[in-house]
């Protein structure tokens, strides 16, 4: 943005905030320096300026000043513009500074810094103190930025998705209800418009660009929707627990022993450990990872699954 444009927009904001009644475009041109002489050129520039102010979140109102007036009037209501009074205690200001650091170098660093700037302008001293805890959330997935925007603006999106274990990508149309980070990974949950069902997608499996496919405000999130719950349910199987009996070499298998239901020494350098499991596919792979230190004894289907896994290891 050029210096002249910044000066003009600054003048425009002050002018529209100061006025008690809405001003017509012609009146604005009179009052604010920096607009061109030709009325057509002015109109084009003024249109762009209005757009620019709205993008900054400045609540520029358009009203038809009075019946019979064919020209629209413009103003910024102070009440809509101004940040309400907010004061923070020192410990509150400290956690605010900490919160802003969460997004450092992530997609939302700019948004957090912008918020902090306004709060500082409201008189808050958000200290960047070291509190002994350093939180970070990364947003490495390219799809994060557009999906965050879509959730903020309640807009539907389209994207290409590569489902787990599939080689092809499929086009998806989604009304995004929310974005959730779970185990350090980002997911989007929402209404899949083609399948007419609730679906969850992992952002790292979205390929290429995410595009908006509808106007802001057109997505309605059903009341009572808990996006975190949707992602959790998608991510985990319905638990139906069974008990496994394992032989574990003494001094090994700590990860298993931590979740043991029962543990007893068997002599000869081996212990019997009982562990509950529900996903046999995951659990047999996990047991295989211990190699010769853990033997699945029971149930038989688990024992066979581990043997099958180990036989699959390329020799």
């Amino acid at each position: 943005m050029s210096r002249r444009k910044t000066e003009r927009l600054l003048g425009l904001v002050v002018c529209l905030l100061s006025t008690r009644r809405a001003l017509t475009a012609a009146q604005i041109r009179e009052a604010v320096p920096g607009y061109p002489d030709s009325f057509e050129a002015f109109k084009r520039m003024f249109e762009r300026d209005k757009e620019e102010l709205r993008e900054l979140g400045i609540p520029l109102e358009t009203d038809l000043a009075s019946p019979g007036d064919e020209e629209a009037g413009y103003r910024i209501r102070r009440q809509a513009y101004e940040l309400p009074e907010i004061t923070l205690e020192p410990d509150e200001a400290a956690v605010l500074g900490l919160a802003a650091r969460v997004w450092q170098r992530a997609e939302l660093a700019g948004a957090a810094a912008g918020a902090l700037l306004k709060l500082r302008a409201a008189g808050i001293d958000a200290e960047d103190t070291q509190t002994g805890i350093e939180p970070r959330v990364h947003t490495g997935e390219a799809a994060f930025g557009p999906l965050w925007e879509a959730v903020m603006a309640r807009r539907p999106v389209t994207f290409a998705y590569r489902a787990a274990g599939r080689s092809g990508v499929q086009p998806r149309r989604l009304e995004p209800w929310g974005v959730v980070n779970r185990h350090g990974r980002w997911y989007v949950a929402g209404h899949d418009m083609d399948r007419d069902a609730v679906r969850v997608f992992r952002l790292s499996r979205i390929e290429g660009a995410v595009s908006f496919s509808g106007p802001p405000g057109s997505v309605v999130v059903p009341a009572g929707t808990d996006v975190r719950e949707l992602v959790r349910d998608w991510d985990s199987d319905p638990p139906a627990y069974r008990t496994a009996t394992l032989r574990v070499r003494t001094g090994a298998g700590h990860g298993l022993r931590r979740q043991a239901l029962a543990e007893r020494p068997d002599g000869g350098g081996w212990d019997t450990v009982e562990v509950s499991f529900h996903d046999i596919g995951w659990f047999c792979d996990y047991l295989a990872s211990f190699g010769a230190d853990v033997i699945a004894v029971d149930p038989p289907d688990l024992r066979e699954a581990v043997i099958r896994r180990l036989k699959g290891v390329p020799q």
């Binding site: 600054l10 003048g11 002050v14 009052a31 604010v32 620019e52 993008e55 900054l56 940040l83 309400p84 004061t87 923070l88 205690e89 956690v95 605010l96 802003a100 170098r105 997609e107 939302l108 948004a111 957090a112 810094a113 912008g114 700037l117 306004k118 500082r120 302008a121 409201a122 008189g123 002994g132 805890i133 939180p135 970070r136 959330v137 990364h138 925007e149 903020m152 309640r154 787990a164 274990g165 599939r166 929310g178 959730v180 350090g184 975190r228 032989r247 700590h254 931590r258 068997d266 081996w270 990872s289 010769a292 033997i295 004894v297 896994r309 180990l310 036989k311 699959g312 290891v313 390329p314």
Partner: protein, 328 residues
């Protein structure tokens, strides 16, 4: 598409609009302090102040709405006109802070009084802009004993050494070590203690959910001056030049490995992925390869591939010989 952080061209206008209320709310404030708060040089700040002072409206009557001075390095705004208060928070701005604050409240339930007060105040000030923030959530894994975090915070505050019994899954080992704690990190949804490990004589990260037991010792922590904190923005696990380069070939059912571990490169050949990762210790790769079974294959180094084959053969031999350890 523009994200909230990408409208660099408008940043100066946002700064100008924040500058007047910043001074007004403090009555008077130094040039140097203000420049630091806004992340600009004093020269840029003076240019901003001059631009504000020069704002002129020509109709109905010409006047200069903003009056200020910065004589002697102290800024005073005597006439702020209509921009005496900052602009309200945008949806993205309010949400960025609220999502982060709610995540922090989840990490430290004990010290959450300041957090919940701040959240309530920010929600009130943001108004409508706060409504959508609940649609974005960052979940922090628990999995550690409730008092572990509190004890660690206490040890960091009082600069006390701690003793850890710590599980290393890559080697399936429970290790005992003394650690001089530095700080807690919450990264990728997990909580870590960063500290000077006296056993390894280096800075190490300890995942809280792998702490089997801990004790705060009555010994002052002695973090040596050469202890370099981890750069959390660069990712927690940076490969070093001495690391071994491991190449794995993954069938579709093993593709999760490419998402789960930081890989140096990922290549797709039809349905197979070929990933390269660097690690100082290949023991965990052997365990990973057993877990993958036919869905993964170690391509390089060759001796690692051979070890994996031996590991599998040794495990199968146990099954073939009947149930081991039966003493009757």
């Amino acid at each position: 598409m523009t994200g909230p952080g990408t409208q660099t061209g408008s940043q100066r206008l946002q700064r100008l609009l924040a500058l007047v209320p910043y001074v007004v709310s403090r009555n008077t404030v130094g040039l140097a302090e203000t420049a630091a708060a806004f992340g600009v040089t004093e020269r840029e700040l003076v240019d901003d102040l001059n631009m504000l002072w020069c704002v002129e409206l020509r109709a109905p009557d010409p006047y200069c709405p903003i009056d200020l001075s910065y004589e002697g390095g102290e800024i005073v705004v005597s006439e702020a006109e209509s921009i005496g208060r900052p602009l309200r928070l945008g949806t993205g701005e309010a949400s960025a802070l609220l999502v982060a604050l709610r995540m922090l409240a989840e990490v430290a339930p004990a010290g959450s009084s300041a957090l919940s007060r701040t959240i309530a105040k920010l929600e009130a000030a943001a108004g409508e802009a706060a409504a959508v923030s609940a649609q974005v959530q960052v979940q922090v894994d628990k999995g550690h004993a409730e008092d572990v975090l509190g004890q660690m915070q206490d040890a960091i505050e009082r600069r006390r050494r701690i003793h850890l019994r710590y599980y290393v899954p890559g080697r399936d080992e429970a290790t005992e070590r003394d650690v001089d704690p530095m700080r807690l990190l919450v990264v990728e949804g997990r909580t870590y203690l960063e500290g000077w490990c006296r056993r390894a004589e280096g800075v190490r990260l300890f995942r809280l959910d792998r702490v089997l037991a801990m004790q705060v010792l009555d010994v002052p922590a002695a973090v040596p001056p050469e202890a370099e904190p981890v750069d959390v923005d660069e990712g927690l696990f940076r490969p070093s030049p001495q690391d071994v380069s491991v190449v794995l070939e993954l069938r579709p059912a093993g593709h999760w490995v490419a998402e789960y571990y930081p890989c140096e490169s990922v290549q797709r050949h039809d349905d197979e992925l070929r990933v390269t990762l660097r690690t100082p210790d290949t023991r965990w790769v052997r365990r990973l390869a057993l877990r993958l079974g036919e869905d993964g294959r170690v391509i390089a180094p060759a001796d690692l591939a051979a070890q994996v084959g031996d590991d599998a053969a040794a495990a199968l031999a146990q099954y073939a010989s009947g149930i081991p350890g039966r003493t009757d």
